[in-house]
């Protein structure tokens, strides 16, 4: 079965490896990802922060395109895109006046049957058994702190696939891939995403707290499913090290990269070498392929 | 056919049943109902595509009493019933008119019946209830005859008509039904033939107070037809006998079916399909829709 794919802007640049690993993993699992033709920005942060109508229109333009392309299930790997798309959809479904307004703006009818899902949901849709079946490598050296970030499982009344306060879906995926997971407290705390460029001080502090809690609870890898989280956690670690010399560098992987590793793919294939913090492969994985 | 006759005759001989209500052939394309008490008479029993009456209308309390309670040991009453007639029997059981133990259901795998006597059975002459029939096998029976058959596929004109009426404006609908009801001559054939119209004294026969004006005037006709349809909504099993019996060809089936569709849509309920599911009339769900209410 094919799923629609809405990459989002980060996937084309700062989160290239996410895009790469996602495509590779799903190709290997036997599922096609059909990229949405001529997709545009979802309007995350800046648009909804300053212009509500614009943000709805930008997000729903993509839904219109998906409808035209005949996509029923569309994966949006970026948590911000995902949240933006489902929030806009929810708003127009609850408030028909908003729907009319936006349809007028776009001069198009907005289809109601395009379901936007995130990467975790996608893994659950294809079934976790599929991941364990395709396991080639032992990942039990990895003690993963699964970091959901703020937007992936919120808000509850729109998004019901996992608990908004104590989610477990990413842990289930990581465990299906053979990694050990830890229980920790900051899996839903915000990394400061939107302030990445303007208020680096905020981002640095928030990200530092997240990383520290992961380390405190015994993690040696942080797993994310959002390009913004990844950027902040991965890229900011050098600055952290400079500011707090005792800071422990900890690699940050995308969930797709983790699954890719378990399926026997290489660090380079998955784009893990593009990260700022080195993922020292030998340290975590016994190079023993499972038959 | 022979097996049916043999079975019926055995039942009567063994005194397992007091009588067999069945069809007997009148002519080539015509059968009539018969209540057979003598085993010898069973030789005229038939079952084919021309058995279009719903015999459950004969299952009245009075008849069961008269036929089955004569000897010391109460006997059963056997009835040959098409799968759709079994629905009527189920409804009657649920409404306490007969007891399951009192009757012996001889049913058949059905391949459809003609819409009226004298017609050649074919796709074109198929009764409208058969076109959308979903139960070619009976839901309850004591004896089953015949192989599974296919009902010829035909256009569901009744549904098309319902949709057509649905798309009319309110005034047009009113005019349509006014014209139809205007034809009514208050012969009450619809009532007589309906297995579920079992009341000894019908609401329309009540005069103090007068519920429904009984002259065949427009106003009385309107009330009669509305009340008839309402009393049968969520009860009617869709046997279509009323429409067939109506000498003025009022499309009673249209209304009955519309109400059945609504019952299915709003409450997922189809009358006469199961003895376990409680009837829609007389039950409620706190979660029923509140849409209608300000």
């Amino acid at each position: 079965m094919n799923y629609g794919y809405f990459p989002g802007c980060s996937q084309t640049s700062s989160a290239k490896e996410y895009d790469l690993s996602l495509r590779k993993v799903f190709e290997k699992l036997g599922f096609g990802l059909e990229e949405l033709c001529d997709w545009s920005c979802c309007g995350a942060t800046s648009a909804h922060a300053t212009n509500h109508k614009l943000s709805n229109a930008l997000a729903l333009r993509n839904i219109v395109l998906a409808g035209k392309q005949g996509i029923k299930n569309m994966v949006a790997p970026c948590a911000a895109c995902y949240n933006r798309l489902i929030t806009s959809q929810h708003e127009i479904s609850m408030h028909p006046e908003r729907k009319n307004e936006t349809e007028e703006l776009l001069s198009e009818k907005i289809p109601a049957d395009v379901k936007v899902i995130n990467v975790l949901e996608l893994f659950f849709k294809i079934g976790l058994a599929k991941i364990s079946e395709n396991r080639k490598r032992d990942l039990n050296g990895i003690k993963a702190a699964c970091y959901y970030g703020c937007l992936l499982v919120r808000p509850m009344n729109i998004n019901n696939f996992d608990d908004a306060e104590q989610p477990t879906s990413m842990e289930m995926i990581a465990e299906a891939a053979g990694a050990t997971t830890i229980d920790w407290n900051y899996k839903l705390e915000c990394c400061g995403a939107a302030h990445s460029i303007v208020r680096k001080d905020i981002v640095l502090n928030l990200s530092k707290k997240i990383i520290d809690d992961a380390v405190l609870n015994g993690a040696n890898v942080i797993i994310t499913a959002c390009p913004m989280c990844h950027t902040n956690l991965d890229m900011r670690q050098r600055a952290m090290k400079r500011k707090y010399p005792e800071h422990l560098m900890i690699p940050v992987l995308y969930i797709t990269e983790l699954v890719g590793l378990a399926m026997g793919m290489n660090v380079k294939d998955l784009g893990i070498d593009l990260h700022y913090v080195n993922f020292n492969y030998d340290e975590y994985i016994a190079e023993k392929l499972i038959a | 056919m022979e097996v049916l006759r043999k079975y019926a005759s055995e039942l009567l001989e063994k005194k397992a049943v007091a009588a067999v209500i069945g069809y007997v052939r009148v002519s080539d394309k015509r059968t009539r109902p018969a209540i057979i008490t003598n085993p010898e008479d069973t030789s005229s029993l038939v079952f084919d595509n021309y058995c279009l009456n719903n015999l459950s209308v004969y299952l009245t309390k009075a008849r069961i009493k008269a036929l089955c309670r004569t000897s010391d040991k109460p006997m059963k009453l056997a009835i040959t019933a098409k799968p759709c007639d079994v629905h009527s029997i189920v409804a009657l059981i649920q409404e306490n008119q007969i007891h399951r133990d009192d009757i012996h259901i001889i049913s058949f795998n059905c391949g459809g019946v003609v819409k009226d006597f004298g017609l050649e059975f074919s796709k074109e002459t198929l009764a409208s209830k058969c076109i959308h029939c979903e139960s070619q096998k009976p839901v309850y029976f004591d004896k089953l005859f015949g192989e599974e058959k296919k009902i010829p596929a035909a256009e569901d004109k009744q549904l098309q008509k319902i949709n057509e009426i649905d798309s009319m404006s309110t005034e047009e609908r009113f005019e349509f039904f006014k014209k139809e009801f205007d034809k009514c001559i208050k012969c009450y054939a619809c009532r007589a033939v309906c297995p579920l119209c079992y009341c000894q004294r019908c609401i329309t026969d009540k005069t103090i107070p007068c519920w429904i004006e009984s002259s065949s005037h427009q106003r009385g006709n309107f009330s009669w037809n509305i009340v008839r349809a309402f009393h049968l909504s969520a009860r009617c099993t869709g046997c279509g006998e009323c429409e067939r019996a109506c000498p003025m060809d009022i499309p009673l089936g249209l209304i009955n079916r519309t109400m059945a569709i609504e019952a299915k849509k709003s409450f997922s309920f189809v009358s006469g399909r199961s003895l376990e599911i409680p009837t829609l009339v007389g039950s409620f769900d706190v979660k029923d829709s509140d849409e209608l209410f300000m």
Binding site: C9, S10, T12, S13, S14, A15, K16, D38, W39, S40, C41, G43, T45, S46, A47, H48, A49, T50, N51, H52, K53, L54, A57, L58, R61, N83, M94, H95, L105, L106, C150, L151, R154, P155, M156, N157, A164, E165, L188, E189, C190, G192, A193, A194, H195, I197, V198, R199, K200, I202, L206, M235, R238, A239, L274, Y276 | -
Partner: protein, 216 residues
Amino acid sequence: MGAYVNKDAKKLQPSFVSANLLTDTLPENNHTPFQKNNSDIPEEIRNRTFQDVSLCYQCGKCSAGCPVRYYMDIAPNKIVRLIQLGFYDEALKSSTPWICAGCLTCSVRCPKEFNLAGFMDAVREIAVKKKVKVKEKDILKFHKAFLNQIKRYGRLYEIGLVGEYKMKTLDLLSDVETAPGLFLKGKLGLLPDKVKDRKSIKKIFKKTDKKKINKH
């Protein structure tokens, strides 16, 4: 806030008199009566969020859980309070809506199911529309730069964004540590990734720009 009564006042004022919540100085005979404010702001917030600010009962759970609370000048719940009471200027001038990262922690936990993150979006939008002097102007500049990129290419062109933002803020030297790395790793494309049907994007911008949101 209490009930300040000016005994010297010749005309008897209503006894419930406003104090400026942001300063703790209240010149005794310089008070303004607490009166009905006919602003369209509550209505506008309602139009945007489909919720009324009166829903909030000021429990403070939002502020308690806010990850960026420490960087705000006024607690998020107090912004709602200010709007409830009609102190719009104070609310719109605050840095709080701009610091809000939109992480939805408050919205998820709110006992009254008030969508505070959406409310903050609305406050920002109103502040821009009313041309309030924004405290966190760099954040606003960033948003504008971001939207300009989208307007131009339909997608985010990160180099363009950073470049434009830096030109706007004249903050040229920060991020020197990350950008070269990004280039080296081939993560930042040198050319923007464009949407083909940029006309439709422009149209969206034009239609939603009636209030001149992005220019001032």
